[in-house]
């Protein structure tokens, strides 16, 4: 929800209006009406967003530990209060070894995959967002030009974004198959999805292919808001193409770009479907979300702790990015307008 704010704010403040005058307009009666109008929405949000989050956080302090009764073969019910054990399990790699003792999680337990999955997720995020931003910018600049067949190019660029991710994953699975299209084209015999780095690059390629149009689209919206007059006067002043891009296009498109980058970053941090379908999480492609779902089957309370950790992790990054870009988003139009 916090994400939508910068976008809304940037459009709202685009004509240089100062917040002060706006606040003065709101009389107390109108304010109360506004509250009454949003109250049902807030109540509903509290119910469908707030409750599950609180419940998940509460669950994360319960134990999955189930004693197996040796004579009946029945598991005793789980759910005892266990404090921070689940968090220690993930963050400090403490796995049970019987009789209440813990050991460092052995390879093959889900616990041992935690830090690996964090770095894989962050790695995917940095690489894909970088690539998508650069390529998306190029696409947007192309789409913004007036030339013959522009409509065709725009449609072609947007197609990948219109395809559901699960279908994308299946599509690339065919491409990356050992006997698939890519190996035929390159004349190689790479087992793309069964080695670490090829598998990772396969996911990066598929993700960039799919979501670059999204970034391109948002940047394009920003580009179209820039008046042609500015470019013309810059040309008259003798600025070359590169200078126009760096001094005019970039600063003016920054708010849109920031929103696109934040959205994509949060999306990639939650990436699940691509690795799940393309590689099943094998070969160093287990993201945090894949790990959460894997953990669900062997202990829902521990999975709650893991999703809480993921939640805090992503939330912190989101907050940081909003803070980082916020000044620019609000500041740029003011500067650019004068």
């Amino acid at each position: 929800m916090t994400l939508a704010e910068p976008a809304a704010e940037s459009t709202a403040t685009a004509p240089p209006a100062t917040p002060g005058t706006k606040r003065n307009k709101i009389k107390t009666g109108e304010g109360r009406l506004a509250w009454m109008l949003v109250a049902p929405t807030i109540a509903l949000l509290g119910l469908i967003v707030g409750y599950p989050i609180v419940k998940a956080i509460y669950n994360s302090f319960l134990s999955d530990n189930q004693k197996l009764n040796p004579t009946t073969g029945l598991l005793e019910p789980a759910g005892a209060w266990t404090g921070l054990t689940n968090y220690k399990h993930w963050l400090l790699q403490q796995c049970p070894s019987g009789a209440g003792k813990t050991i460092t999680c052995p390879t093959g337990t889900l616990g041992s995959q935690f830090w690996g999955s964090i770095s894989v997720t962050v790695g995917f995020t940095v690489v894909t967002v970088l690539l998508e931003t650069v390529i998306g910018m190029i696409f947007a600049l192309m789409m913004n030009r007036a030339f013959r067949g522009r409509a065709l190019v725009r449609a072609a660029i947007l197609i990948p974004w219109a395809i559901p991710t699960a279908v994308t994953a299946k599509l690339w699975q065919v491409v990356f198959d050992p006997q698939g299209v890519l190996n035929k084209l390159l004349g190689t015999h790479y087992a793309w999805t069964s080695e670490k780095w090829p598998a990772r690059s396969a996911i990066v390629i598929a993700d960039v292919w799919k979501t670059t149009p999204f970034i391109a689209l948002l940047i394009l919206a920003g580009l179209q808001g820039i008046s042609a007059d500015i470019y013309e006067s810059a040309k008259v002043d003798g600025a070359n193409a590169w200078q126009r891009f760096v001094k005019i296009t970039l600063p003016l498109v920054k708010p849109a770009l920031a929103v696109a980058v934040i959205f994509r970053t949060l999306d990639v941090l939650r990436m699940y479907d691509l690795p799940k379908i393309l590689t099943g999480g094998a070969n160093g492609t287990t993201t945090v979300s894949v790990l959460v779902v894997n953990q669900l089957h062997s202990g829902v309370y521990s999975a709650s702790a893991l999703s809480t950790i993921t939640f805090i992790f992503i939330f912190a990054i989101a907050l940081g990015m909003v803070k980082l870009f916020n000044a620019n988003i609000v500041g740029t139009p003011g500067k650019g307008g004068k």
């Binding site: 009666g29 390879t107 070969n283």
Partner: protein, 427 residues
């Protein structure tokens, strides 16, 4: 003023509607009165997606004679992990709407240990003398039968009869058959020697358990929690796979093979031997197959004679929360009848659980693989029977995959497998 009041009233009203909507969804239960062993009534049969269209016939056949105890079929997704999640959620909610459920053989222990399914003893006793032994064993946990075997499955060795004169019965024979006739990749001029399913997924557990069980090992002891893989037998079993990748009798592409990819490779003539389920037979013999008429099937080889297949298939169990358990029990007996079992075989190629059908002349004429499949299932060993199965199979997949990729040695893979299972079942 008046428009404001109106708006306020509307918003209030909408809030009330929302709250009312939430309230009504909460109390669904509370109907139905008597439950227990004698209660009869309409039931729901929950099963995975019916890809071969068997369910309408099954429901019709049952409903014809049970006007007051009609069965409703509820189909789940066709993905096993989604089916499992769906069942877990409904059992945790103690849903009486799930009367009879289809249970994958590997879920039996978990469902039983959590008390979600009714043990088939006493009033619920189910005769098992006509069933194939291993299918009963796979539905048994802690000495009690918890589910009625419904469809079985066993691994088979598919081999190119145009390239080898007779099927190998041991690993060594198979490797010897490949000498000079194969290459180490499926893209070479000659076919590769052998492949099963070695991608990191449930299929790898199936294949690894087959290798280890064939060599006389056992992954988890009978108590359902003690790991037992630091043994010479388990080492020998895992070595068969690891050496395969090292020496080249298993092509490295097989590290990404699930059932379909291995089938495709064999179908394109790129494999000499393949481990797969019986369903592959019809596809390989069909049009568009390069090996139609050139292949045959045999039981899986082992180190010294026939190997131990992992048992696949499904059972049917009664939910502990069902209100009409007597009807449910009758339904269990019904799905094991000759009529249903042979219909499932002829229409859906489901391997039956009744021993008699494997020697039925008419059926064998139609499905020539039946006698071999019977041998495979009779020698089959269930995958580890443990309530901690999801964690155990994760441990097997991760460590075996590391070993066959060559990133870790067989000994250290088994050592961490032992530790991982120990930790997963420590409780």
């Amino acid at each position: 003023m008046s428009p404001k009041v109106a708006i306020g009233a509307v918003s209030l009203l909408s809030a009330v509607v929302v709250l009312a909507g939430c309230g009504s969804s909460g109390n669904k239960s509370g109907t139905g009165s008597s439950s227990g062993a004698d209660a009869r009534g309409p039931i729901t049969f929950v099963t995975g997606k019916d890809n071969s269209g068997l369910m309408p016939h099954l429901a019709d056949a049952w409903n014809k004679d049970h006007a007051n105890e009609k069965v409703t079929i509820k189909q789940q997704s066709d993905q096993a992990d989604q089916q499992l999640s769906d069942l877990e959620q409904h059992f945790q909610a103690k849903d009486p709407g799930y009367d009879v459920v289809t249970v994958d053989v590997v879920w039996t222990a978990e469902f039983a240990a959590k008390g979600w399914v009714v043990p088939l003893e006493g009033k619920y006793a189910l005769p098992t003398d006509k069933l194939l032994g291993p299918t009963v064993k796979a539905a048994t946990y802690n000495g009690k039968l918890y589910a009625a075997p419904y469809a079985s499955d066993g691994g088979l060795l598919y081999y190119r009869k145009d390239l080898v004169s007779k099927a190998p019965t041991t690993w060594d024979e198979m490797i010897a058959d490949c000498q000079g006739k194969t290459s180490t990749t499926i893209t070479g001029p000659k076919p590769a020697c052998y492949a099963g399913q070695f991608a990191k997924y449930e299929g790898l557990t199936v294949n690894a358990a087959e290798a280890i069980n064939s060599a006389g090992g056992q992954i988890v002891k009978d108590d359902g929690k003690t790991p037992n893989v630091e043994t010479p037998e388990a080492t020998a079993g895992l070595n068969f796979l690891v050496n395969g990748f090292k020496q080249g009798y298993i092509p490295k592409e097989a590290l990404g093979f699930q059932e379909t990819q291995s089938l495709n490779a064999f179908q394109a003539g790129q494999l000499m031997f393949m481990r797969n389920w019986p369903y592959a037979d019809a596809i390989l013999a069909g049009t568009g197959s390069k090996v139609a008429g050139k292949f045959d099937i045999a039981p899986l080889p082992g180190p010294k004679g026939v190997g131990a297949s992992s048992l696949g298939g499904h059972s049917v169990a009664i939910s502990s929360y069902s209100k009409y358990k007597a009807t449910a029990l009758d339904f269990l007996k019904f799905v094991e009848s000759d009529a249903v079992q042979s219909y499932n075989l002829t229409q859906g190629s489901n391997a039956p659980v009744l021993t008699s059908l494997y020697t039925d002349q008419a059926l064998v004429a139609k499905f020539p693989y039946l006698p071999v499949l019977q041998k495979s299932i009779e020698n089959a060993v269930p995958r580890p029977v443990t309530p901690f199965y999801p964690a155990v199979t994760e441990a097997i997949e991760t460590n075996v995959y590391a070993a066959i990729q060559g990133t870790t040695s067989v000994d250290s893979a088994l050592k961490s497998l032992q530790a991982a299972i120990q930790s997963a079942t420590a409780g």
